[in-house]
Symmetry: none
Subunit: 208 residues, 4 copies
């Protein structure tokens, strides 16, 4: 964002930080937060343990940095996807596609959310650190829900449920498809055509 000139020292520092985060992401997503030691991360990043602690004051801190940075970039991508179209239906299509892209391009991050779980979680929104969860909740509540809201106002959509509920529904639908893909990518490819997913919402199952 800021177009600041950084000294070589500072640029190097930033690079090192990124290397550490990358190593941590790898390991966390592979084995889960509790099953990775700081020594392991340091080793994988090819730094001494003390250096790791110079960058992140403790393990928690490192984890948070990781999650927040990833969450920010996801958030941005999804918001942009919605904003890039005018038409409500097009916005939703963009959203479904962007969600797939972001998810599939960042499997490590995604796995990071799972790996630790001993047992399941129920939905993308559960289990996240509260702040992240809330942030995502607000995103659904505002950005995504308002697409449905405007669509209903403009009579493009029938009001079969509250806008927020529709947002939640669409999101969890995408997640469901993505998890199928995660388990068996070839057997359950994430649909190229967003309408495969959207039609579940758009078309009525039961009647005209």
């Amino acid at each position: 964002m800021q177009e600041v000139k950084l000294s070589r020292r500072e640029r190097e520092k930033l690079r090192h930080r990124r290397q550490m985060l990358a190593a941590a992401l790898d390991l966390f997503s592979e084995k889960g937060f509790h099953n990775v030691s700081m020594h392991e991360i340091a080793k994988r990043a090819e730094f001494a343990i003390g250096t790791l602690y110079k960058f992140f004051k403790n393990k928690e801190d490192l984890y948070k940095a990781l999650v927040f940075e990833q969450a920010d970039s996801f958030h941005e991508a999804l918001t942009k996807a919605i904003e890039e179209a005018d038409d409500e239906i097009e916005k939703l299509r963009n959203y479904v596609k962007a969600k797939g892209t972001v998810f599939m391009d960042n499997v490590s991050t995604i796995r990071l959310y799972f790996a630790e779980t001993r047992g399941a979680s129920f939905n993308i929104r559960a289990g996240l650190d509260n702040e992240i969860r809330e942030r995502y909740g607000r995103f659904l509540h505002t950005t995504l829900a308002s697409v449905f809201e405007r669509g209903i106002q403009r009579k493009r959509f029938k009001k079969i449920a509250e806008p927020y509920q529709l947002a939640i529904a669409l999101d969890s639908l995408c997640n469901a498809f993505l998890l199928l893909w995660l388990e068996a990518p070839e057997r359950h490819p994430y649909p190229e055509d967003p309408d495969v997913i959207l039609n579940i919402l758009f078309k009525g199952l039961t009647e005209p």
Copy 2:
């Protein structure tokens, strides 16, 4: 299941086992698997640590016993709900209701799936120990999906997606609502009327 006569000894043993599992469930759901020590569980259950190890050969084992027993009972309840009705729509209504009941009556268990998570999980099906997950997958694939399949055959449902996809969709919809409830029970009550959820599938958002 088996209506075997148990000796007093055996009945006591079973009671002790249950006490230990109950203590473990409490603690795990409160703090997550990794943040609970075997000593803690033993203490809460009012047994010596050695006794705990007489019943469960290690922590993993204890955890699995817990999860499998809970999963079995959930599974049974959901299957029964579907089997109890004849009509497909009624089956789905029963499913939505049963899912709510089971979830809300077993918050500890539910939380057990989350508590550990450092980071999110995306869906009830992810993050579960593989076996549990697979089992639940098979359940969706067979029991629930076949409701949709038969409905489509009998022209009660339009084929807006594959039966399995519809099963996944309905399930993730329920989960989404349940997670809202978990976060803020009064603000987001799980709908008494299952049609609030089902209509999102049943009615078309866009057209006749």
Copy 3:
């Protein structure tokens, strides 16, 4: 004190505790609190590190147990010495003798107070954990000072200073002699005859 019957288990436990404290005392007095690791203590006591932590919840705790137990026994010995005589002068003689005995019999403990010091300390009363110091302060203030007070009332002593000041003075006099002894036991033996020390107080330096 308590004449409780202890089970063999309990007796063993107590013995182990004493062994650990003894090892710790040795090491602390040799090298100072900060220069001794818990592993070292465990090793010297021939227990595993975990066992050490079962007995003392952390290093601080271990140190305190050590200091308090030693302080208690010192305190008791000094009090008893004073109470054992009737005559004020005899009480003081007993005190000077007991102080020497206790000090010389517990050089480790004494050194424990020094070893850590990087730099000096000024007096037996300084540097002690506050509670210990206060306790010793009260002892001087009450038990020892009251010997002087009664002596003055009964005209055995001239009131050349406040009783408390005299108590402090006598105590620091003993300490001074004991430290000389500690440095070079043969060159500066602690006087057998307590009057060598007491006379510095008793007899006037300057005039009749």
Copy 4:
């Protein structure tokens, strides 16, 4: 001492050195040698860690520089106090006063000797790094003890103990009063009139 002309460079260097020592003194006296890190000292002195190491080759070295410089100045002040008077009694009075001044004006330094102590120390002379202690021992043995010796020779003092013992006695008496002051300055002010302390030596407690 040496009245050498120093270049600006050298003067600056000396000033930096003093700043570092001052920061270290502050911190050590506050928290004790072992609880202060070199980074902390560098930060407080507003220098980089590397610069600190340019001045002092290690932590020990820094500590010693600190202690020796302080000790020298104390030593000098006390010696001067004694030399400034002719009369033996006056010399002792000066000593008692100077000791109080030096102590009370340099509480940080004093505390430096205590702060680290886990446990007590018995006397100003114990616990000091050996060299310092010896130096102070020599001072008591020569400078202060010789005042008593001459006093005895010149029949101003009765020989109630060896000169060295008297020196030790007076010193430890002063220390005792100073420690009372350190604990509770208002409750136990260090006597303005040195005779309050000296009389404990001068006047006989028991008889003419």
